[in-house]
Amino acid sequence: MDSKAHKFRENAKVALLDPDLQRALGKARGGFVDARTQAFSCLDRHAEIQDAAKQIKDHTLSVLDEYLVLFEKNVNKVGGKVHWARTPAEARKIVLDICDDVDARRIIKGKSMVSEEIALNYALETAGYDVVETDLGEYIIQLAGEPPSHIIAPAVHKTRQQITDLFHKHHSRLGLKERVTDIPDIVNEARLVLREAFLSADVGITGANFLVAETGSSVIVTNEGNGDLTNTLPGVHIVTTSIEKVIPTLEDLSGILRLLARNGTGQEITSYTTLSTGPRRTGDKDGPSQYHVVLLDNGRSEMLAGEFKEMLRCIRCGACLNHCPVYGAVGGHSYGWVYSGPMGAVLTPLMVGLDGTKDLPNACTLNGRCAEVCPMSIPLPDLLRKIRVRQNEERITSVRARWFMKAWGFLACKPHLYGWCLRILAWLLSWLWGKPHILRLLPFVHEWTATREFPKSQGFTFQSAYRKAPNSHE
């Protein structure tokens, strides 16, 4: 999918006025946060586990090449194949070639954010394949022709009414003419329709939450069971994933799993955690006869070298989205690409370029809730700030903002002058209060006063009030 992140401002405005979206977001907001709090209330030694998770990832990243080579070796050993892709285009070509090779017609998919990142569905459909998403959320947005709006709950922006309408529109031609309005009926109808897809598919594509180097396994963590039908029923299983997903051992998997579901859906563990290792073995009565892993780089190896390395610890749990006030207000589509919320505001500029994504890191209040909840201790606000610095260096930030920053920087280094300026400003603002027509002419003020009252200034600064206070130490 092409990035529409350059339209963040417009998108956000539309999103804020969309009653359906606001209803859907309102429902999700509190739910995820409460579920997470509840899930952690009964986890023994949470802080220590989180610390070990960070350390294990830092260790893995510091010798990433060795673990990737080991993973590849172990996949080869059981008869699977690892494919390396520098860019989304290379990854798409690899998948297309495999599908072409086996004369596939129908392809089913389990949820994969890397597949979204490389816009795989579009490529496959254009090549004439029948592509069916099987995760219920992904299926809903596929019918709607939309990208996911959340990394773990792709259809979180849809209301039940909208899903009813979508199902009615698309399932009528399959003979399912009745409108399904209750949640159990909606889920059942999807089950019925997708069953056929599962049983007739030639290729199954899933993502991977983790890759275990020690065994050469790809791991998926799901609740619906669609991922398992996808990697068991068709003759070919393709895993679309990326290089930073690798972890050293099975014990490390056990450790990190304690954090993933609790942070995402607020479950202790999801219904299904599946380790897939190679194609079917001699004697096996089912399972795919081909197993391919596509390892995508797309800028990740470059990130290793620099100040954004810590972002590579991300396990895509979704907690930062669920706790972000900006995401909660404007929803995932406003961000304009596949990753949204705080992690998206860091990743999107790094993956699709600073140009054209300039509002993302700035649409953040730096309140820090995301960093507080992140299980991998990723300092998201710091990373967003670093992107702002880069924008400034590369002159992507507007001229006005850059001048303002320069002026402020100059003053901030001269405390006396700074104090004087503030005093004048405080006095000026108090004089201007009640004269909104003049107030509006001041730079930056209009954005604030358009929807709010400007607060009245007391006419003096905090510093001067502090100095006058009876128990002041000066």
Partner: protein, 212 residues
């Protein structure tokens, strides 16, 4: 695409070249303590996740337990049973038709499989694919019945990996950690059982040690 491989690995090596390699030696994963006994924890967690748990005192009782479940749920008296050795030790009531040793098909309503381990911490069943255990049995039918020996319970997954490594020098194609029936919350964040996998999960816990 070995060009891509070389170039990705080279970029990684270049990037990491300027940083020290961090060792793994000092890292240890703390394991959460259990509040009660293994079986108690296991059963509670599974029930919380929406599974049904029954106990039988010996392998011979498995068939009867399955048959009672079929009647209670008003299901046809027909099951597909994996070749797992624990299931071979069971007596099967005559009125239950038992299909053995084949993968699941679209018409199978109920499957019965064995599990190699149970994890008390999370109420998780560990199923391993192989000649005797087709994976489709775990996901395609509406009702999945899993039989587990109480003696196979361990506290955490960490307690099991060592055993699996020993038992399977070549890691099995599919290791399924199952912690409840299939579910989804994709419609308005409301939990609904039976998304794509089994709608119901019955766990039969067999008391006592394994008899050889």
């Amino acid at each position: 695409m070995s060009k891509a491989r070389d170039s990705i690995l080279a970029t990684i090596r270049r990037a990491n070249g300027s940083f020290p390699q961090l060792t793994k030696d000092a890292i240890s994963w703390p394991q959460p303590r259990l509040n009660g006994g293994l079986a108690e924890n296991f059963v509670q967690s599974l029930k919380k996740a929406g599974a049904v748990v029954e106990k039988v005192s010996a392998e011979a009782g498995i068939g009867g337990c399955v048959s009672r479940y079929l009647q209670r749920e008003q299901l046809p008296s027909e099951v597909v049973v994996s070749d797992d050795e624990v299931l071979k030790l069971s007596d099967w009531p005559e009125l239950v038709t038992v299909h053995r040793g084949r993968p699941a098909t679209r018409n199978d309503k109920v499957s019965v499989t064995g599990a190699v381990h149970g994890i008390a911490e999370t109420g998780t069943l560990v199923l391993v694919s192989g000649e005797q255990n087709p994976t489709t049995l775990n996901f395609l039918p509406d009702h999945h019945i899993v039989v587990l020996r109480e003696s196979s319970l361990v506290a955490n997954t960490e307690d099991m990996w060592g055993t699996l490594r020993e038992r399977f020098p070549i890691f099995p194609r599919s290791v399924n950690l199952i912690s409840g029936p299939s579910k989804t919350a994709d419609v308005e964040q409301t939990l609904q059982l039976g998304a794509h996998g089994p709608r119901r999960l019955l766990v039969i816990l067999v008391k006592g040690e394994k008899i050889n």
